[in-house]
Each structure stands twice: as C-alpha cells, then as structure tokens.
C-alpha cells in the first residue's frame, strides 16, 4: 500500500504552501523566530520593556543607572512613604540626557498629590558618552512604538524578539566567568536584586570599565547644567527632588573623582541651588556586589536608610508621622 498521497488530496493550505516560495520562507522564518525566542536564555529584557512602558503611574520615581537599579528597593522606601506608588525607573548605563529626563517626568502621575523624584547620581551618568549612547535610548529605539497605546498592548509580548548578543548565542560559554556567577531577580517595582554565589573577590573588572568610560569623557558641565535646570523646573512645578551619590567602594570613588573629575561638593551645591535636596550618604557602609553595584543585602539596607532620610525631609505631616516605626525587612 502506498503511503504517498496524491497531490490533489492534500489540504488546500498545504498545496498553497507547496507552490508559494514566499509562504515557505515566511513560515520558516516564523518557526525560527519562535524557536529562538522561546528557547533563548532570559536576558532580563522583559522587565526592562515593562519599565519602558510606564506612564503616569507613580507618586515617587527613582531614577539613575544600573547602580540605582540594583541599589534602591522601592519596597523598603514604602515603609517610610506608605500609600505612595514608588517605582525604580533606572536603566543600565544611563546618562542624564534630555530624553531620559523627559521619560522620568512622564512616569509621575500628574494627578498625584505628592510627587517625588529621587535621582541616583553616579558620575558616569553625568558624562556625554553615557548621555548620548545608553541602554535606555537603545531600548527605546529598538522597541518603542510611536503610539503609547500600541506600546502598552505589545511591549510585554516582545521579549523574545530582543536582539541576541553574540555571547548569548554561544550559550554563555565565552562570557566572563565573574558575570556568570551573578544572579539577578527583577522585581515588579523596577528593582533588580543581585547576588553572587560564591561572592566575587576581584573587583578589578568594573574598575577597568569605569576607567574606560572616563577616558576622554569626564563629567560634563553641560549635562550637569541641564540636569540642575530640570531640577529647578520640577521644583517650580511642586515636585520634590532628592539626589544622592551612590554607595560603592573607595577605589571606585577615587576613579570617579580623579579620572571622572567629579566634584561632589560643587555638584551638591549646584543641585541645592536649583531647589533639590542633596542627601549625604555613608558611601562605604554597604556591601558591594562587584566594586560598582550593591548586592541584594546592601541594597535593602541602603534603601531602608534612604527611605528614612527622605521621610525626615518631607514636610508633609502625614508622611512624617507615618514614617516613625518601620522595621527593616531583609
């Protein structure tokens, strides 16, 4: 008995595909895209895309680069600012360019009674290089729909079409082993908790990265001026703006101050002149993940302290009263 079916007995759709090369190519392409999309390693793009879609949905927005993204846990801040919607809107490698500043403003709910912006300041985020070329702009240009409504519907579905880096495609075999030992967990409020197992001992990688970033690229007076101008505008609109220098290790601070030419005092004074409130942090108190970012425990501890400092400065009596008895959650 022959198993071959006569051609005219095949369903119509198969006959169509058999004769249409365009259909064959499109079906094959779709299969490859789905196969690669669903089997690829989770590269943390999904949570970033969700963040990118945030619009008019927060009372408190925490902004900055990956050090803020990993260092500030909104859950801890909430203990001091109860009832407020707090989101961590930090992106890796961000610079405080105009597009990012606009986006921060866009996350605040215009109807919120108490609007607060908290800026995590790393000197890297005040350089021209990071302001012009960063992951926020890349993500925006790669994924953003022009229409925010379309974005809201589709962005969450697009994780599997994120570009694959060469290292990802090789299954991580060539990835620097010190990065491989990091585990990251993205929280719905935008915080990325990170920890090592076993803890990293050699912090030279990120120190080298910092040196490279500051090579011919010190802190830009233009970026600082634009930022302080924006802070003044926010303040005039009734938005409370706080900023702090991110905790790290002494070697990183030395690079930031010397190669990055960052003068914390003059920055803080310009920031306060613009109406913002500068928070002085004990920079070396919190455990570091890699010489640059805080690890999960360090971030929880630091966020707790940050929440306490902000609540003590907020003038709203309701917030100040409620901020009296929180317990640190680890």
């Amino acid at each position: 008995m022959s198993t071959d079916l006569p051609k005219h007995n095949l369903p119509k759709v198969f006959r169509f595909v058999a004769r249409e090369r365009a259909a064959q190519a499109l079906l094959l392409a779709l299969s490859i895209i789905l196969l690669l999309g669903f089997t690829r390693r989770n590269d943390n793009t999904g949570p970033k895309l969700v963040k990118l879609g945030w619009q008019a949905c927060a009372d408190v927005v925490v902004a900055g680069d990956s050090r803020t993204g990993g260092g500030v846990a909104p859950g801890q801040l909430k203990q001091f600012l109860p009832g407020m919607r707090i989101l961590n809107y930090a992106f890796a490698g961000i610079g405080y360019g105009p597009e990012y500043l606009d986006a921060i403003e866009g996350v605040l709910d215009p109807d919120s009674k108490q609007k607060v912006i908290i800026l995590g300041i790393s000197p890297q985020s005040l350089t021209d290089k990071m302001a012009q070329n960063n992951s926020f702009l890349d993500l925006k240009s790669t994924y953003a729909f022009r229409s925010p409504r379309l974005a809201a519907y589709f962005q969450k579905l697009l994780r599997f079409t994120a570009p694959i880096k060469m290292m990802d495609a090789l299954g991580g075999r060539l990835v620097d082993p010190h990065i491989q030992r990091q585990y990251r967990r993205s929280h719905a409020d935008g915080w990325t908790a990170a920890y090592d197992d076993p803890p990293l001992q050699d912090f030279s990688g990120y120190l080298r990265d910092a040196l490279n970033i500051f090579d011919n690229n010190p802190v830009s007076p233009t970026i600082v001026k634009n930022l302080t101008n924006r802070v003044a505008r926010w303040q005039s609109q009734g938005i409370h703006v706080y900023a702090f220098r991110l905790p790290t290790i002494p070697e990183m601070v030395a690079i930031e101050n010397n190669q990055g030419e960052f003068d914390e005092q003059s920055f803080a004074s310009a920031f306060e002149q613009a109406g913002g409130r500068w928070l002085t942090i004990d920079q070396f108190r919190y455990p570091s993940l890699d010489g640059s970012h805080l690890n999960r425990d360090g971030a929880l501890e630091f966020s707790f302290d940050l929440g306490r400092m902000i609540s003590s400065q907020e003038k709203d009596p309701q917030i100040t009263n409620l901020a009296s008895e929180p317990q640190m959650r680890l």
Binding site: R19, E20, R21, A22, Q24, A25, L26, L27, L28, A29, S31, I32, I33, L36, D128, K129, Q132, N133, L137, D138, S141, T142, Y143, F145, R146, S147, L150, F154, L158, T161, P163, I164, M166, N216
Partner: protein, 471 residues
C-alpha cells in the same frame, strides 16, 4: 511611520489583508491607497498632511489648467514651480538662508541679526515635492496627459511605499500602472519578498549595527588621530548610507511589487562603478535622472558647447548637493563630485586605466576611494570637522595596540566585511550565474530568506530613522 518600526509591521499587515478585497474597483482602490498613505504619513505628524495636500493640489490643478488654457502653460508651470520650490525653501532652507545673511551682516559689521524660524522639516518633503513637480513639467512638455481624477493623482503622489524617501517615481511611469491592476504571480510575490527581506537586512542589521560606531567617531570631542581609523570609519559610513538608503528603496520596490506595481531600480551596486559618471548612473538613479531631465537638460545640457556643458553639470551637481541638506558641507560634497566628473571628462582617465592589466579593478577601487572622501563632507557636522578628518586620513599616522577591535567593535567590522563581500559578488557578475537551475539552490532559497528575516529580528542593531528621511 518608519519601515523599521513595529507600528509599520502592524500597518502593512492590515493593509495587505484588506488589499485583495479593495483593489478591484478603480476608485475604491485609489481611495484605499490615498487613505492608507495619509495614515502612514500622518502617523508622524498629521498637520503636515495639509502641506502634501496643498503641494499636490497646486500640481493637479496646474495640470488640468494647462490642457484648458494651453496658451498659459508657461505661466501655470511657473506658478507650480514657485509653489513647490517655495514650500521647500520655507521649510528646508529658510534658516540656512537666515544664518548666511546673519554671517554676512557680521562680516559687514552690521549688528542687526535676523531671528531663526525654527520650522520643523516635514519628512520626505524633498521627495514628494520633486515627484509632484515632475508631473506638471511632464504635462507642460506634452509628455503626459493630466489625470482628471483627483484620487488617481493623490494615489500616485502619496503612494506610501515611496512617499518619504523615494524612489522618485515619474507620473508617466506610475499613473498608467495605477489605472489597472494585474493579479500578481507567484514569481512576483517571491521576488518582492526577497526585495523586502534584503532591504530590511541591509537597514536593520548592516546599517544600524555600524551607525553607533560612526556616530561616536563624529561626536567625539577629541577625534582619533589615527589615519586607518578614519578610513575604516568612512568606508563604514559609505556602506551604512548605501545600505540604509538602498534598503529603503528595496523595501519600497518590494511592497509596490507585492501590490502589483513596478518602481524603477534606484541603486545598482554603485560601489562597483569604474568611473564617477558610472557611479552616478548607479547611485540614487531616480534622483540623478530627475536632475538630469529637469535641471541639466533645462539648462541646455551638452547641446551648447563643452564649456557650457561643464557649467551646466557643475550647477546640477551643486543644486543636487543642496537638495540633500541645507548646509554648505552638502554643497561642497556636490562640488567635489562635479570636480571629479570634470577631471574625468578632461583626462578620460577611467578609459585609459581600463586598458591596463587589472586597470578596470584599479579604477573601481580609485572611484570608491574618491567617493569615500566625498562622504566626509556629507557626514561631517561642519567644514572644519571635514577638513580635520581628511587631513587625518592622509596623514598616514598609525595607531597603537589592538585599536581596530577596541574602537570599531567586532559586529560592525563583521557587517562591513560582509557587505564588501556581497558587493564583490555583484562586481564580478556572480549574480548573473543561473543558480536557479540548481535544484538544491532552488530549495535553499526560501531557507536563506527565512534566515535573513530571523537575522533582522535577532541580529539587528539599535533602531534609528533612515538617513534620507532628513532630506
């Protein structure tokens, strides 16, 4: 709407889903094309739809009036040209003009300064204005019968695949095509998918992967002093602008073919040209032929002696440079090409070189190098920056260490080499080999297109607008 945006993917899916049901009746087809094209254009900023409608109405009415009042044809043509050039001048060149007047005031010691208008440049204005003008000029010259159907006219003028970045399709080529609709064949659909896929691949994988490296080079406050670095950056830019623009044209041609229409070839592997004249026969063909037919020939072309012909060519090239952007660097770019074309005509070096062993290949390399030097003016933000880069390129200063990999990155270098290999393939005519006769190749073709499509998704660079949108 950008071809490389997800909005467009949704738009085009919807468009082609409805197209088979709406393409049958003429006016329904025209209306559908016009509405879709206006949605496509208005997605960016709907207010500029009024500009395209106004520009189109001038030419539509001028065309009709020319048949009704043949003795006033010249006046009607002048009104149309003033209307079109006027809108182009207002939106594209007014601030450039004001800047130059202010500079002149400064030179003359006058303290008064004119304020800049800060008008936004409507996307694709240079393309649709030229397309609209060609309609009136062709009617004036008696080469085209004007259409009496306004939907027919706007379906031609605003047809979305070519609306914002060409190819500039002539009315005499497209208007008759739009009148009828032929069912597409399997081969046409296959070719159009190949064109669309290859166009997307060139744009989102090749051009967009090289773009960040090139932008960093040009934005650096302290530009690299290494000669080889700038040669590589400029070769990358040459390939980027080629892939970006020809990619757009390929997508436009593919989309039109899928509908059942044919747009002219806009790029024919220009970097394989063996003379600059040959280059201009292969690069942005629809624009260069527009300038030849409507500017060069209108000035008298080569009919009035050698010197006048040279002058006409120079004017055409300088205007072509200015068409690309309101900046002196674009005019200098046009001037650079005019200079090389003049030298070519004077010395006939491409012909002489071609007679030598390997001379043709040497000529192609030399022409490519000359074009690359010209691109410096095209890409540079200022004349000073262009001169600094050209000086560095010819200083032959060497770099230290592994600067190629460190400063240019593996992906952009891989893209550059891939495109050089592709263009070499076409240069040696390997595309003329009848590969399709091989059964294996025939079977592998859908797989290769599928892989290119998957690469567009997973290997794409950071998205950016098409370079020619700004023109």
């Amino acid at each position: 709407m950008l071809f490389n945006s997800l909005d467009f993917i949704l738009f085009i899916t919807l468009f082609f889903t409805l197209w088979p049901f709406l393409k049958g009746r003429k006016n329904l087809r025209f209306s559908y094309l016009v509405i879709a094209s206006f949605v496509f254009y208005g997605w960016w900023d709907w207010r500029f739809l009024f500009l395209i409608i106004a520009s189109g109405l001038i030419d539509f009415l001028a065309g009709l009036a020319m048949t009704k009042f043949p003795r006033r044809r010249k006046l009607l043509l002048i009104i149309s040209v003033i209307g079109n050039i006027g809108s182009l001048a207002l939106f594209k060149y007014i601030d450039f003009g004001i800047g130059n007047v202010n500079w002149l005031f400064g030179m003359l010691g006058v303290e008064y300064r004119l304020g800049l208008t800060g008008l936004i440049l409507p996307i694709g204005i240079s393309f649709y204005t030229f397309q609209s003008m060609s309609y009136t000029i062709d009617v004036y010259r008696g080469q085209l019968q004007p259409t009496r159907n306004i939907l027919h006219f706007f379906a031609y003028l605003a047809m979305f695949p070519q609306l914002v970045a060409g190819p500039i399709v002539r009315a005499k080529d497209l208007l008759p095509q739009l009148e009828t609709i032929q069912p597409t064949t399997e081969a046409q659909r296959w070719q159009s998918l190949q064109l669309i896929t290859w166009g997307y691949f060139k744009k989102v994988v090749i051009a967009d992967s090289m773009a960040p490296i090139i932008n960093i080079a040009f934005n650096a406050s302290d530009p690299s002093p290494v000669s080889g670095y700038w040669w590589l950056i400029m070769v990358m830019f040459a390939l980027q602008i080629y892939c970006d623009f020809s990619g757009y044209s390929d997508i436009a041609r593919g989309l039109a073919r899928w509908m059942g229409y044919e747009f002219p070839l806009n790029f024919n592997h220009p970097y394989g040209a063996t003379s600059l004249r040959d280059f201009w026969g292969r690069w942005h063909i629809s624009l260069s032929s527009w300038f030849r037919d409507y500017v060069y020939f209108s000035l008298g072309g080569s009919r009035c002696g050698r010197t006048k012909a040279e002058g006409n060519m120079w004017i055409t090239m300088l205007v072509s440079g200015l068409w690309h952007g309101a900046s002196w660097t674009f005019v200098i770019w046009g001037g650079w090409h005019a200079l090389i074309l003049s030298l070519e005509r004077l010395t006939e070096w491409p012909k002489k070189l071609a007679r030598l062993p390997l001379g043709r290949h040497l000529g192609a390399i030399l022409v490519f190098a000359l074009v690359v030097v010209g691109w410096v003016f095209f890409r540079a933000d200022s004349f000073g920056q262009a001169i600094t880069i050209i000086k560095t390129m010819f200083s032959f200063s060497a770099g230290e260490g592994n600067w190629i990999m460190e400063q240019l990155g593996a992906k952009s270098l891989a893209c550059m080499l891939f495109m050089i290999l592709c263009e070499t393939y076409f240069y040696f005519g390997l595309d003329q080999v009848p590969w399709e006769r091989s059964r294996i190749i025939r079977i592998a073709q859908p797989a290769s297109v599928a892989l290119l499509l998957a690469a567009c998704v997973f290997v794409r660079g950071p998205g950016s607008a098409f370079i020619y949108f700004q023109f």
